[in-house]
């Protein structure tokens, strides 16, 4: 049977992708951002997952205002890095896992989650920056990736609790997949940041660190955080953190924190990163 062996949480700041692509990672500004991923790159090299279910949001790239899916699962054979306005990132094409993706889609729908199925999608920094952070700059990504795009742009996004429950449904789906696959689930986005208006630049390190604590210690409180709290405490774009709860919900009731990293700033944003493993 396929199984979920670990969860990764990470910010997906586009400027980090640009720093990696332009060879700036040793500059004093970027070095401490990237240093927090050294442990994780070694860890994942040993872990060798077969598939990553990568929860991210599309930033007006594959989806414009015509169609706004709340939960969209990528079932294609492959996904090209998107042109977000300055040409595509020079990173490998992302290979999907259509068998598992379609299985998760049908299982979740039967489990009362009304998924949107996507068979063609270019993937933006939300998906490719986490891959760069964990795998560096290989010629081909060493895992298959199932993109799971969540609307966190047009309000209301899904509640934290709903995200958690989707994570639980994804775990049931993975565990009912025939075939011996090592599957990781990644929740991306955040942490505190606001990219618009006079309050832009907001960072709340205390709140972010409580959120990171709760991921392994007080997860029931975590799933009840309302949107307004994310908005007030972590800025308009901090709401991306609900996507981490899909990852966390998929890991089951108890987890062990293997690695943690937090740094301010990367461009306008606080960077957070966790590696979690389910405790059975």
């Amino acid at each position: 049977m396929a199984r979920i062996t670990a969860g990764v949480g990470t910010s997906h700041v586009p400027a980090i992708g640009a720093a990696i692509d332009l060879g700036k990672t040793q500059e004093p500004y970027w070095q401490p951002v990237l240093a927090g991923y050294d442990w994780s790159r070694n860890w994942i090299r040993d872990e060798k997952p077969d598939v990553v279910i990568l929860v991210f949001n599309d930033h007006a790239t594959a989806f414009d205002m015509k169609i706004i899916p709340t939960f969209a699962i990528g079932c294609a054979e492959s996904f090209k890095p998107a042109d977000e306005g300055w040409g595509p990132r020079p990173v490998p094409t992302v290979q999907g896992h259509p068998d598992l993706a379609w299985h998760i889609a049908q299982s979740c729908i039967l489990d009362e989650f009304d998924m949107t199925i996507i068979n063609e999608m270019d993937v933006d920094h939300g998906l490719t920056v986490p891959l760069s952070l964990l795998f560096g700059q290989p010629d081909a990504w060493p895992v298959k990736v199932i993109p799971l795009a969540v609307n966190v742009v047009t309000y209301p996004p899904p509640s934290g609790n709903r995200c958690w429950m989707l994570g639980e449904a994804i775990r049931r789906a993975v565990e009912s997949f025939p075939g011996d696959l090592k599957v990781q689930i990644w929740g991306t986005g955040g942490m505190s940041h606001q990219l618009q208006g006079p309050r832009a630049g907001l960072i709340n390190a205390a709140w972010d660190n409580r959120f990171l604590d709760m991921m392994s210690q007080d997860s029931q409180r975590l799933r009840a955080i309302p949107h307004i709290e994310y908005l007030r405490e972590t800025g308009t774009e901090g709401i991306e953190m609900v996507m981490w709860l899909i990852m966390r919900g998929a890991l089951g009731p108890d987890v062990r924190q293997l690695h943690r990293h937090y740094h301010v700033p990367a461009s306008n944003t606080a960077v957070g990163h966790l590696v979690l493993e389910p405790v059975r």
Partner: protein, 139 residues
Amino acid sequence: MTADESREDIHAYLAAFDDIPGTTVFTVARARQGYWINQFAMSLIKPENRARWKADEAAYLDEWPLTADHKAAIQARDYNRLINMGGNIYFLAKIISTDGQNFLHAVSTMTGMSVETYQTMMLAGGRSPDGVRSIKEGT
């Protein structure tokens, strides 16, 4: 938690958004209001559209059902005004990247701070949430 206990009242949910200082939440009402601003900005994701836009901004804008106000705000790169008219930052980001402008720089223009002051604030840990959580509570 039952479904009934967790169900949010949509009116209270939306009203709370107006209580955050210096912040505009991209609600469905704003998504409707700014639909064409965002669709126009999104079109710049294609290189051929970027080229036509750069060659003649005014002519390019005339192809879209935008008001004179919309067009003026777009040409002025007045991002606060565009956001108040229903623009969304991720869509407006396509204008910013087509301009070749640094994103942090563009964001700083909405704060009333100079780029340098804004950058210094970010390096020092960012803007504190203290005093900008709630208009009513003053927290």
